[in-house]
């Protein structure tokens, strides 16, 4: 095995162009498990840990451009005020040790349907910036996930950053697991309110081959919500039903398809209720932890 350690983003792109089969490693919280258990024996390991461009973030117009190598702990501490939905999801990832190393870029690279970043990235209209020696591509999160652990990333491409606007309104993330720490989601749900545009963004995790948006549920809310009135319970219930209908869950060791659909409808209704309370309260920010 070869161990490549580029010092800059340019060097990293050169290395990936030369070795398209190289496996990038950032926090290593997915890659090292696979190496330790002989599940993967890549010819080349490409350590991105020295590439400082990946660990920063800057404003880019009206959005934030967040490097792929920013660990969850930093998302929570430094970006939680602007990206509250993603920060809530980050708080539920693994343990403190995992959050100190694991990154959103690694979550995207792994593209597991259960990855906790994905629902808030979808609900928040995130765009993934990927690059190779052939150029830069900006891929909407909705187009990024292509199948179980498959993404739109080409072999010579690396993930550079994700772009997302600071929260325009309340955001919430909710995740079902068997206990509060160290659990892979049985299923998860993220919501983002856009009061100015009078629309709602959604993201469903761990309930289909890929993370996905509940488009029909979003359209329903855009049509039915009265943004100046208390939340109509019937609207919230129908929203829950439409979110559950958008999923394509399976039975597995973590839960049955039926349970997942039911849990999704409950999480959708609840997160909408929490977000609506904030919306009417005028705080515009969500403060509550994940369920």
């Amino acid at each position: 095995m070869e161990f490549l350690q580029p010092a800059t983003w340019e060097e990293a792109l050169d290395a990936k162009a030369e070795h398209p089969g190289a496996v990038p490693i950032q926090g290593g919280t997915d890659v090292m498990v696979e190496l330790n258990f002989d599940m993967r024996r890549p010819a080349v390991l490409l350590d991105l840990g020295r590439v400082t461009e990946l660990t920063g973030w800057d404003p880019a117009g009206d959005r934030l451009r967040v490097g792929a190598g920013v660990p969850y702990a930093t998302v929570i501490d430094a970006l939680g005020d602007r990206l509250p939905g993603l920060a809530q999801a980050a708080r539920t990832v693994g343990s403190p040790q995992i959050r100190n190393r694991g990154t959103v870029g690694g979550n995207l690279g792994a593209a597991s349907p259960a990855g906790d970043s994905h629902p808030p990235l979808l609900a928040g209209d995130a765009v993934i910036e990927v690059e190779s020696r052939r150029g830069i591509r900006m891929i909407a999160a909705t187009d990024f996930y292509r199948g179980v652990k498959r993404s739109a990333l080409e072999p010579d491409e690396l993930i550079r950053a994700f772009w997302m606007a600071p929260a325009a309104g309340p955001q919430y993330f909710s995740k079902i697991g068997t206990r509060n720490a160290m659990v892979i989601a049985v299923c998860s749900f993220a919501i983002a309110l856009y009061p100015e545009e009078r629309r709602v963004g959604t993201g469903i995790g761990s309930a289909a081959p890929t993370p996905l948006r509940a488009t029909a549920a979003e359209e329903f809310l855009a049509r039915e919500l009265d943004w100046d009135a208390p939340l109509d319970e019937a609207v919230a219930r129908e929203f829950g039903a439409l979110v559950a209908a958008a999923a394509a869950p399976i039975d597995d060791v973590r839960g049955t398809a039926g349970y997942r659909r039911h849990a999704l409808s409950v999480m959708a209704r609840r997160t909408l209720t929490w977000a609506w309370r904030d919306h009417l309260g005028g705080t515009g920010r969500s403060g509550r932890g994940a369920a």
Binding site: M1, T29, M32, L35, R101, M182
Partner: protein
Amino acid sequence: MRVSFIVNGASETADDVWEGESLLYVLRERMGLPGSKNACEQGECGSCTVYLDGTPVCACLVAAGQAEGRQVRTVEGLAEGDRLAPIQEAFVEAGAVQCGFCTPGLLVQAHDLIERRPDPSDAEIREALAGNLCRCTGYEKILDAVRLAARRKAAI
């Protein structure tokens, strides 16, 4: 390949390291530092927790080459000479050690907690230690130990 980094203040080098080898393996098997324990090798148990550049991480999930040139501090580096760190003393006094397998990881993780949060609440202690499994103690005495160490640290 050759890997060099600073461990507990001293520069260490290991040769013939396999490129996919973990920092934990290098510490235990090549540098003679068996304090950090190897139990799950998948980030689930926390018994391999070490500081990497001042941040607690699972050493089993860091590729050895990623530690090149960096600062590593293991449980062996918590004491100052013969004087145990307050968190170590508290573990002994509170009876927080039974078989001791989980202890090194818990010590590093708890050490970090009371460095950052001088007066942690019970919820904060539980949250900080959520990634460290103990099969023996039932955790109550571990919580006692962390509270004791935090109280003593606050009193200094």
